[in-house]
Symmetry: C2
Subunit: 208 residues, 2 copies
DNA sequence: AAAAAGAGAATGAACATTCATTTTTATGAG
DNA sequence: CTCATAAAAATGAATGTTCATTCTCTTTTT
């Protein structure tokens, strides 16, 4: 087992995760066999095990990578000149441009989250990170006068997270689901929550 | 193999599905073994196989039962005197009163839907059924003057379905997620879509 | 006493992982 | 440049386990 991860080794690991991802989408984390993954990666089991010590480690590596990519997208929000535009671009990317397979993997990961404490911990971190970033972006938008000055941001943040999850789930389960108009609807609702008249008090979340 | 399903036999099958459900929530459809299920059901494998011919058949049976229960709830909507109230009661039931385990099973089922054509077909049927029932209920509400007369129902229907899925996913993945305020937010948004002023044209779904 | 319900050991396939071995790559002395 | 050699990369058959399913036998019910 090599001490350091050379660039080549990192590439190889990424390629293995790509292959594993295809298998997992096809058959699920527990339905896909190591033999399937070896076949998809064009690699013998003996060799594959030099890169990942177990199937568990591969699942964890895949979740880590997925979460990291998601986090990077949200990190970039704060740096965007136009926040609304950046938000819409990010949503378009995750819900429309990314293939449906990403949504299937997302649902698979979510159903693993409750079972596997290791992955559950990763999920918690990324969830909190994303929530913070969305909140921060909306605050920036408000400071720049791009929302109503007294807009209540909490319900908007919660709405976005929940609705995005719903879109992922619907896209994953229905081949014919076209996310485009649904993303448009999401932003239309978000605007109606943040632009003039403020959300009525009855709709505020007390303990979100 | 008995020709007919006596009442006793149906009860027994239901009890087996209950046990299987607990195992599936704990370990997933493919992580739970028949031996686990036999243990949970207090039954030998030889006997269990008299009720379900295979594990596959048990998973299918469980999905069928879950979908049927869901459908029954939505069927009842049309018969309710106050549709808003009935709607809120149904949402409260599925999102709040039902234990978190139901949401975990829902996510598990959804990730199976894409892989297993048998279950995929069941999903399609129930999805269309629910959409029809929600639409019908909203139409009734509009006819009774409980919404704006020119309210655009399509976006509202799609919003409800997507948001409910999002809530299920969030509750499944986060033990600390409290659905109560989120269901309130859902209805607050729904009301703002259906009560005066009508949803702006830009938010309409063209091909939902 | 026949039929239904149930038990639990047996079976064979599939699986994750390991191991003995071979092939490739990189290195440096002649 | 070239060849010897050691490290790294890769192979695929072997291993031991787990699992879904079956089979034979016993108990309970009618």
């Amino acid at each position: 087992m090599p001490r350091i991860d050379s660039a080549q080794r990192i590439d190889r690991k990424a390629a293995i995760l790509d292959a594993a991802e295809r298998c997992f989408v096809r058959s699920g984390f527990h339905g896909a066999s190591m033999s399937d993954i070896c076949g998809e990666a064009g690699m013998s089991p003996g060799n594959l095990y030099r890169y990942f010590p177990s199937k568990e480690a591969m699942i964890e590596g895949l979740c880590e990578r997925d979460f990291a990519e998601l986090g990077a997208g949200f990190s970039a929000l704060a740096r965007a000149p136009d926040i609304w535009e950046a938000f819409e671009a990010l949503a378009r990317f995750h819900m429309i441009e990314e293939p449906r397979e990403s949504c299937q993997l997302w649902v698979e990961i979510m159903s693993e989250v409750a079972r596997n404490p290791q992955i559950g911990a990763l999920r918690k971190k990324i969830d909190q990170f994303i929530e913070t970033k969305i909140r921060f972006a909306l605050e920036m938008a408000r400071d720049r006068g791009q929302t109503a000055p007294d807009a209540d941001l909490d319900p908007a943040v919660q709405f976005l997270i929940t609705y995005a999850d719903g879109l992922m789930l619907r896209r994953a389960r229905d081949v014919n689901f076209d996310p485009k108009p649904h993303v448009a609807l999401m932003f239309s609702i978000l605007r109606s929550m943040l632009l003039p008249p403020a959300t009525p008090a009855s709709a505020r979340l007390t303990t979100p």
